[in-house]
Symmetry: C2
Subunit: 411 residues, 2 copies
């Protein structure tokens, strides 16, 4: 078991230790919730000031051209493309993950128009499941959604499967799918595969092209540090772009939006996945989030995150062994994403007390605490402190407070 | 014809003259493009600073609760409700106008499930037409879109019409539909009516409840001054809320988003129209845009705008009578929205030269210049100056420059 001084030494030796300076981290806070809302890059302040003082405030409508608002969606797509192993013209930012899922699922059904089945797993992120329900309900071709256990996913894919759609890193347990292997299994049956990368993009190297992935989307505000409600990205492999046929055909996806023609003619390539006017202030925050990755290797980020997770598990096993805490996530770092979930019957109260003591993770119903390991701004010593605080809370039972008896709306 | 001094006197006498102080208007600029992107309320600066320094930067994930991010969508809905004659629980902000149109059109088709026809007019805003195409294509029930001439709209509504959808103020000509009369005509045939208020909300009093309107949406970044790509609102009349059945069923529209249940159970009322996580930085800008309307009467705004438009037409008629400029908008202020369109075969070059001389309107293909009259920040004297500049440009033919020969992408 490492000693406190050894955690400090790990920080000193880390190739990423300088990166934390690029983020705003409040004093006294150990922020372990980057899987839900990434911390704020300091450059957001200057960028939003420029937005206020120059772009919107002075240049007004001209900013669409002179300050690049008009090309932000594709510029952001280019920025993220190297983080997910895609070509720059295969990715664009638009809307929310939920809306993008709808566009991509319908696109897949239109490409595989002879097939009726969509397969996903029971523990997919809820909005993914809800959007599939929405597609099945509104898309009039007798589409069936099969929601199956994780272990049965591959066996369920058959010649009637149009699409397999999964989230790479489970939002609750953190368990990872093997992107390459599962994509291959879908392709063997002639099905398309759509990955939701919300809980993995920005946290680890992803190689969409290498795994021959057809379609993907992912959240801008978790590991990409794009700010609350940042736009989400859409990826469509080059080979399918000629066959895109998506239903939310708004003017930003038109070949010539300002020709104001009455008929919809899709733009070339990935641009036709756009719908309405993008929220520029939020897109500017996202640009800063993505810029943090300039010069950074996701291999380093991933290695540090796995190491932090391993140390967290070891320390918790040791310091908290007398308490009914259990590990929900895989022990093997290669098999989990960048957060770790612990189960405790009083998880809600425990997490409230952790937050009150400066350790910010989050709670997921019914009994799970999540802790994210984001080496861009989390230090090894933070991991040590977090477990020490957890231990004290368990020992003193300080979580047992009447105000924690009722659950608030927590995101 | 009023003299320059009389324009100054009109400003001095205006009940709205103090409101301009709440906006950032660059020196030397006469901003007549509020129909495309509203000017920036100065309070946006402080609000975004608070977002950076406190909300995201310090409170991080906790801001969803402690800084009200979670309730912003409905809070903004309440703010706009009084501007459009709706009850606070009939309106919510979400996504873009385009995405909202999709949700509302499908909702209408589900309510009127025995009917197959949607009627709109040929000169509707392009994204409205494109979204209708998208619905018809993806909604598998043989839906027919009838795109008819403005004058034929009412006659075309029949017992097979599920929905009539129109934009209240024409984006090009500014011509207004009579909201009440046209809604009544749709209802006589048992059809629903969906209004796009993008080019009218915030510019004039609108009474959705008074006109018994079923569904509506509208843009946040034009007359509502919510900033580029601000979220758009959705209105569903109380009487239809029990029957909402919309396809973009994301987690924010779920009855209990954080219960993370596998099945979609819609939230009560208008909240079920939400889909994904809202872009908070952009929503904060919009909140400031809507706050400007506190204590302001839209009747006053409308009266001043009509008067400015009347003076603009009179001055143009007089000063520019020797040039081939024609009025596209109705002369009668009651029949037009808050912008005026002029036709000139060199409209693009003329508008570029106007902008170069500090008069910012915009160009719409093929030959239209648009000028918006937004008395919250536009002064009567600005109208006088704008026409004087236009006259000089026409007289000196300074618009006839090689660099204006090619059209840039202008929004």
């Amino acid at each position: 078991l490492l000693k406190k001084s050894e955690f400090i030494a790990l920080d000193a030796a880390s190739t990423l230790s300088g990166v934390r300076q690029r983020f705003s981290i409040p004093d006294g806070v150990i922020y372990m919730n980057g899987n839900s809302l990434g911390a704020m890059p300091k450059s957001v302040g200057d960028s939003l000031s420029a937005f206020v003082e120059k772009e919107w405030g002075q240049d007004l409508i001209r900013s669409w051209n002179v300050n690049g608002w008009y090309v932000l969606a594709s510029q952001l797509g280019e920025q993220v493309s190297r983080l997910i192993g895609a070509a720059p013209d295969e990715v664009i930012f638009s809307d929310s993950t939920s809306v993008n899922l709808y566009k991509l699922v319908v696109t897949a059904l239109n490409i595989k128009s002879q097939r009726k089945k969509i397969i996903t797993d029971t523990d997919n992120f809820p909005t993914d499941l809800y959007i599939l329900e929405g597609v099945a309900k509104s898309f009039g071709r007798g589409i069936e959604i099969e929601v199956v256990d994780r272990k049965d996913v591959i066996d369920c894919i058959d010649r009637d499967t149009a699409l397999l759609t999964l989230t790479q890193a489970n939002y609750r347990t953190s368990e990872l799918y093997d992107l390459q292997e599962v994509s291959k299994a879908a392709h063997r049956q002639g099905a398309l595969v759509l990955w939701d990368l919300s809980h993995s993009c920005g946290a680890m190297p992803i190689d969409l092209n290498g795994a021959n992935v057809d379609l993907a989307t992912g959240c801008g505000y978790k590991y990409l540090n794009g700010g609350p409600g940042a736009p989400a990205f859409l990826y469509v492999a080059k080979r399918w772009q000629e066959q895109i046929d998506q239903p939310l055909t708004g003017w930003m996806g038109h070949k010539a939006p300002f020709a104001m023609s009455a008929d919809y003619v899709p733009a070339e390539g990935i641009t036709q996945m756009l719908t309405g006017t993008p929220p520029i202030a939020s897109a500017i925050c996202l640009r800063e989030g993505l810029s943090v990755f300039d010069g950074i290797s996701l291999t380093d980020v991933r290695a540090a995150s796995m190491e932090m997770g391993k140390l967290f598990i070891e320390l918790t096993d040791d310091l908290c062994r007398d308490y009914p805490l259990s590990l929900v996530s895989p022990v093997d770092g290669e098999r989990r994403g960048s957060h770790i979930a612990l189960r405790h019957e009083n998880a809600y109260a425990l997490m409230q007390e952790l937050i009150a003591n400066g350790v910010i993770g989050d709670f997921r119903a019914a009994d799970i605490m999540r802790f994210a390991f984001t080496p861009l701004y989390l230090r090894y010593i933070d991991v040590w402190h977090a477990v020490a605080v957890l231990r004290t809370i368990l020992e003193t039972e300080s979580w047992n407070k009447p105000e924690y008896a009722t659950r608030a709306a927590v995101t």
